[in-house]
């Protein structure tokens, strides 16, 4: 089940981005502003994984690793070799794309949980490498002194400026994603995720399309990693481990698999959760676990599905009829 994508989706995105423009002026402090930046970065992670899970029916448990590869490749190039983050970005995307190709090629030919398994194993290997390639990554203590982006001699290191920078990058990425989904290729993806054999017999190269979406998804995660690394100036291995990957899958489902706006909710929960768990007591973890079960039970299409439900009721109340049924 996919939410429809059309002109209204583009308009919704444009309106949201206009509203977001004021965030740096209304945020009460830099802590909140940085959370907003992090939300945009997480949005790229969740939306790109949603592309894979929701629009081609594949599960990756290595999204955290791809995020990490992006962060480390660009971060190490900047911190250890003095290479500009603007060059680090394409390098990170290229490395991640190549790695995704190697992991995905054999497993995406198989039906079932093979991609989930291979990516889980791959994430474990990547986690070990992030720690053990100490000369590059700084080991378990993390990589320090990652330089910021510099634009025409202007350092993008203030929280406010970086928020706008992330807003532009994330907005561009989301528009590219929408374009992809609303195209011949996107239609082929939606087709193969509902009826794979049917899609193949309509002339769609199922393996090629799955590979494509897996690589695009991984590369967007890598881009998110670059933004994260150069904003934080520091990265450490536990940000990119198996738990990260699992939680990202959970956030896609919590938002609503295959629901375009679901990713926005998923990213919101993912950004807020550690802050809530850190500041309040242990009970929150229990509440989170139980809530997850409840959402899956009552809103199998996630928070995005819940939003549709509310909008439909509200809209129906106004229009006085069930026109949308």
């Amino acid at each position: 089940m996919h939410s429809a994508i059309g002109p209204a989706t583009y308009r919704g995105l444009a309106v949201l981005w206009l509203v977001l423009l004021v965030v740096p002026w209304v945020a009460p402090n830099n802590y909140i502003l940085n959370l907003a930046t992090l939300w945009l970065i997480n949005l790229l992670l969740v939306a790109s994984l949603n592309l894979l899970m929701g629009y081609s029916g594949q599960i990756s448990l290595a999204h955290g690793a791809f995020y990490g590869i992006g962060a480390y490749v660009s971060g190490v190039l900047g911190a250890k070799y003095g290479i500009s983050p603007w060059l680090g970005l394409p390098a990170a995307l290229a490395v991640t794309g190549a790695v995704a190709l190697i992991v995905g090629w054999p497993t995406l030919k198989l039906r079932g949980h093979y991609l989930a398994m291979a990516t889980l194993g791959f994430n474990a290997i990547a986690s070990v490498l992030f720690v053990e390639l100490r000369d590059w990554t700084g080991g378990p203590n993390g990589l320090v002194n990652i330089p910021p982006y510099v634009l025409f001699g202007w350092k993008l290191d203030s929280d406010r400026v970086f928020f706008y920078f992330t807003l532009v990058m994330a907005g561009a990425c989301l528009v590219l994603l929408l374009n992809l989904l609303d195209s011949r290729t996107g239609r082929a993806l939606r087709a193969l995720s509902t009826a794979e054999i049917g899609a193949e017999c309509m002339g769609i190269d199922v393996h090629r399309h799955k590979m494509l979406v897996f690589m695009v998804s991984a590369m967007i995660a890598a881009l998110a990693g670059c933004l994260y690394a150069h904003h934080n100036a520091f990265v450490s291995p536990e940000s990119f481990d198996f738990m990260t990957s699992t939680m990202l899958v959970v956030m896609v489902a919590l938002g609503g698999t295959g629901h375009w706006w679901g990713a926005f909710f998923g990213a919101l929960v993912y950004t807020a959760l550690p802050e809530v768990l850190r500041s309040v007591g242990d009970l929150e973890m229990l509440v989170f676990g139980v809530s997850l079960v409840l959402v899956m039970l009552f809103f199998p299409r996630g928070l995005g599905g819940a939003m549709d439900w509310v909008l439909a009721r509200f809209g129906r109340g106004r229009a006085g009829s069930g026109r949308n049924d």
């Binding site: 889980l120 198996f242 676990g289």
Partner: protein
């Protein structure tokens, strides 16, 4: 490093003991996977819960282990039952993905619940029969390791007999092979799923209890054990019951030997490199038959 037979034997002992635990955890994964096609993320938490429960009972009541162990296993089995009835059973569309996601939910809830009720401190259990090492071929062997291997084999045999000899076990096999056909001949498929979760919880609890005398346990120990058990299940072939034994022992031995001969830092990676190679070249696991997409 000098390689002698005593060292090899020592590594093999260690690998088999750890691998037996992995095999038990993998068995739990496989029972649930077979019956639902879902990955049960709570498996590791049940392992932890078993160990914590037994350690807590031991600390509070100082009862003999013979009473504590079955009681702790029963408690976790009830936990498994409750989790299934309250979250998997009511799902309106029980797809493997939906089931997997609710298991993540109750895995987190289980971990939090144990932390809130039994505390955050690591807990321990005494070894089942002393800690005096047995020396064998120049290598020393902890008596607890023998218990681990023995209980692994007993549990595997018990689960095997359950599936082969009991009416419910046969019904579960039939439902796993073809849900619709099983339902047509009058098998209550939802009931078989419930029992799969109960068995998985009980098997997990056993694993958690028998390893606690060696490693201690705490509320956070479940994630890693679950992860290792899942890797073992994949190595042996998901859903393949004997595969759990092969996959668990293989993973245990791989870790032990790669830690000694390659590097302890990379030991976790070695097992997964093997896993990836296996997935690329023998995708159905060591014992499974490959099911390549026919399209």
């Amino acid at each position: 490093m000098q390689v002698d037979s005593a060292l090899l034997l020592q590594l093999a002992f260690g690998g088999i003991a750890t691998g037996s635990i992995y095999a038990l955890v993998a068995l739990g994964f496989n029972v649930v996977f077979k019956s639902t096609d879902a990955i049960n993320f709570a498996q590791g938490e049940w392992v932890m819960a078993g160990g914590m429960m037994a350690a807590w009972l031991h600390q509070q009541f100082a009862w003999p282990l013979l009473a504590i162990v079955p009681l702790a296993v029963a408690c976790v089995a009830v936990l498994g039952l409750a989790s299934e009835r309250l979250s998997v059973y009511p799902l309106s569309q029980p797809s493997p993905m939906a089931i997997t996601l609710v298991t993540i939910g109750f895995a987190i809830a289980t971990k939090a619940l144990v932390m809130l009720t039994l505390g955050k401190l690591p807990m321990s259990l005494p070894s089942f029969s002393g800690t005096e090492s047995i020396v064998l071929g120049g290598a020393s062997l902890q008596p607890q390791a023998l218990w681990i291997v023995g209980l692994l084999l007993a549990t595997m045999a018990g689960v095997h007999l359950f599936f082969e000899r009991t009416v419910m076990g046969k019904a579960m096999k039939a439902a796993a092979a073809d849900r619709e056909a099983a339902a047509l001949v009058g098998i209550n498929v939802a009931r078989t799923v419930m029992w799969a979760f109960v068995i998985a919880a009980a098997v997990g609890a056993i694993a958690g209890i028998i390893i606690t005398p060696i490693t201690l346990t705490s509320f956070s120990a479940g994630t890693v054990l679950g992860f290792k058990g899942f890797s073992a299940a994949m190595l042996g072939g998901l859903g393949n019951l004997p595969g759990a034994l092969v996959g668990g022992l293989l993973l245990g031995l791989l870790e032990a030997f790669s830690a000694a001969f390659i590097s302890s830092a990379y030991k976790d990676a070695v097992a997964f490199v093997v896993l990836l190679l296996l997935l690329f070249f023998r995708p159905a696991g060591l014992l499974g038959r490959a099911q390549v997409q026919k399209v």
